[in-house]
């Protein structure tokens, strides 16, 4: 088990998400950057759905009470094991009594920490991803312990060649959304040429953008949405729905992010610039 000395800025337990419960209005959730999440598990030969920590902006401070192996992927956030810097994208052995700390993120937004065998936290509707109103907590809290299976084993020296994403890339590949055709050519052109910036209102539910599209579209009959759906509100605001977004909405669905674009956006934050690159299916 692991003791939480400090919670970090916003640290949650995530896995692949709660697929199959959307008919009850339950968001999919799951790791914001599924790409980085999956690498973290691969580095330890974990099951692809093993739960990891998603650490936003600044990681927690943790004390290990049992030995294990861990690995970090995603945003660049320097980790220190007993005050010694450790590398990302590489399995790291931890011993009983070791203390792990993090600096603030220097590139990207979310870092993933996998542990051998995955975190053994509360499972709700077949999934461990923390979400308010579904799991008991919506993030890790100091009073609780992080549990893992100390008897999990791996073939030692597991090495994976990693191809990391360029988090500075501003281009998001997107498909047309169901209501894209309602936009006039001027608005459509804006999506093709304009740069957009991420507003301070960005979290696991959605990212609002600063720039507006000045075309009023009627609200639609409430309809299904997906993580990565770009909505246009009646006042022209663009909202990109992320993993914890509600499963239906009444705003026009203008664009749909590709999976890679959604993972890349999860590594961006306030003031970061993005551009949309329309591709066809």
């Amino acid at each position: 088990m692991i003791e939480i000395l400090k919670q970090g800025w916003h640290t949650t337990i995530q896995d692949l998400g709660r697929l199959g419960s959307q008919s009850f209005g339950v968001p999919i959730s799951g790791a914001m950057d599924l790409n980085a999440f999956q690498w973290a598990n691969k580095l330890l030969n974990n099951n692809s759905s093993a739960a990891c920590l998603e650490m936003t902006s600044k990681g927690p401070e943790l004390k290990f009470h049992e030995p294990s192996f861990i690995a970090f992927t995603g945003a660049i956030m320097q980790a220190f094991l007993n005050s010694k810097p450790v590398k990302m994208y590489k399995p790291i052995e931890v011993k009983k009594g070791d203390v792990l700390k993090f600096s603030s993120v220097t590139l990207g937004c979310r870092t993933y920490m996998a542990i051998l065998g995955g975190f053994q936290s509360e499972k709700v509707l077949g999934c461990r991803s923390q979400y308010k109103g579904v799991t008991l907590e919506d993030r890790i809290v100091k009073e609780n312990l992080l549990l893992f299976n100390r008897n999990a084993f791996t073939q030692k020296g597991a090495r994976v060649k990693t191809k990391t994403t360029d988090y500075k890339d501003v281009n998001l590949k997107v498909y047309q959304g169901p209501e894209y055709h309602l936009l006039n050519s001027h608005s459509q052109n804006e999506f093709k040429t304009k740069q957009f910036t991420i507003s301070p209102s960005n979290n696991r539910m959605g990212y609002r953008l600063n720039e507006k599209i000045l075309q009023q579209l009627p609200e639609i009959w409430t309809a299904p949405t997906l993580p990565g759906t770009v909505q246009l509100t009646p006042d022209g605001t663009l909202i990109i729905l992320m993993r914890d977004a509600q499963v239906t909405g009444g705003y026009s669905r203008i664009l749909q992010l590709s999976d890679n674009a959604l993972n890349l956006l999860a590594q961006k934050s306030t003031k970061d610039v993005i551009k949309f690159e329309l591709i066809t299916l």
Binding site: F24, V26, V124, G133, Y175, Q246, Q256
Partner: protein, 241 residues
């Protein structure tokens, strides 16, 4: 039953096809959508899940759809054979207790003066209606209910409340709904139900489903407390249609 309502296909994502029916929502469309949904889940290989809107179905596959035209053909065939393959699932009717009194009815007095209807009239209009559950969205366990009496239509608050208590029964625009959990919200609160709309400990976390119907009946605070202790939604299932 006429199961030939036309629908369109939209490829939203490599794993997703959106089916849209171009008409206003109706219980007839809803019946077809839920029936179609059940059949897709039963007969289509590789479909991971389907979400419902008023006039649409979002069908998600586990993997990228390799042959789009085949997937389309299969869906068309399934739709035209709906009544041959199966009969629509039975729907249920739920009668939920609501306390429209005191602390529970935060906005009832305000609504009463704005709508120029007595509190009792509002309660009567609100509870006598049989509502249809269209789908669940917005929050886990939040039912989109259709059928609110037009005399009770009232615009949402300009400034949403930061905290609406769990179980709050509210009116917003042309809709009424129950907040399954504490959340922010802009609807006007007229009462509260002691029955949990979302409980992850149950096999199906929300007892109601698309196509079910629901009505309310007024209880006093003492009765509310009693029901809250038991909190068994099944006790409020009145009939299976």
């Amino acid at each position: 039953m006429n199961n030939k309502l036309p629908f369109t296909f939209f490829r939203m994502h490599p794993k997703v096809i959106l089916l849209e029916w171009e008409q206003d929502p109706s219980t007839e469309t809803l019946k077809e959508l839920t029936h179609f949904k059940a059949n897709i889940l039963k007969y289509s290989m590789g479909v991971s899940q389907i979400t419902l809107g008023y006039c649409s179905l979002l069908v998600q596959w586990k993997e990228d759809i390799i042959n789009y035209s085949d997937a389309k053909k299969n869906l068309i065939a399934l739709y035209s054979n709906l009544s041959i393959n199966s009969t629509p699932a039975k729907t249920k009717h739920w009668t939920l207790p609501v306390c429209y009194e005191g602390e529970f009815a935060l906005d009832l007095a305000h609504l009463s003066s704005e709508l120029k209807l007595s509190k009792d009239t509002i309660i009567e209009l609100h509870s006598k209606t049989i509502y249809t559950v269209y789908f669940i969205g917005f929050l886990p366990g939040f039912l989109y209910l259709d059928g609110l009496d037009s005399k009770l239509f009232f615009p949402r608050k300009k400034n949403p409340r930061l905290v609406i208590p769990k179980g709050a029964v509210a009116i917003g625009g042309k809709q009424t709904g129950i907040y399954p959990n504490e959340s922010p919200g802009g609807w006007h609160i007229i009462g509260n139900t002691p029955i949990s709309l979302f409980n992850t400990k149950n096999e199906t976390p929300c007892f109601a489903k698309s196509g079910d119907t629901l009505s309310f009946y007024a209880v006093d605070e003492a009765e509310y407390q009693k029901i809250q202790c038991v909190n068994n939604p099944k006790a409020y299932l009145t009939k299976v249609k």
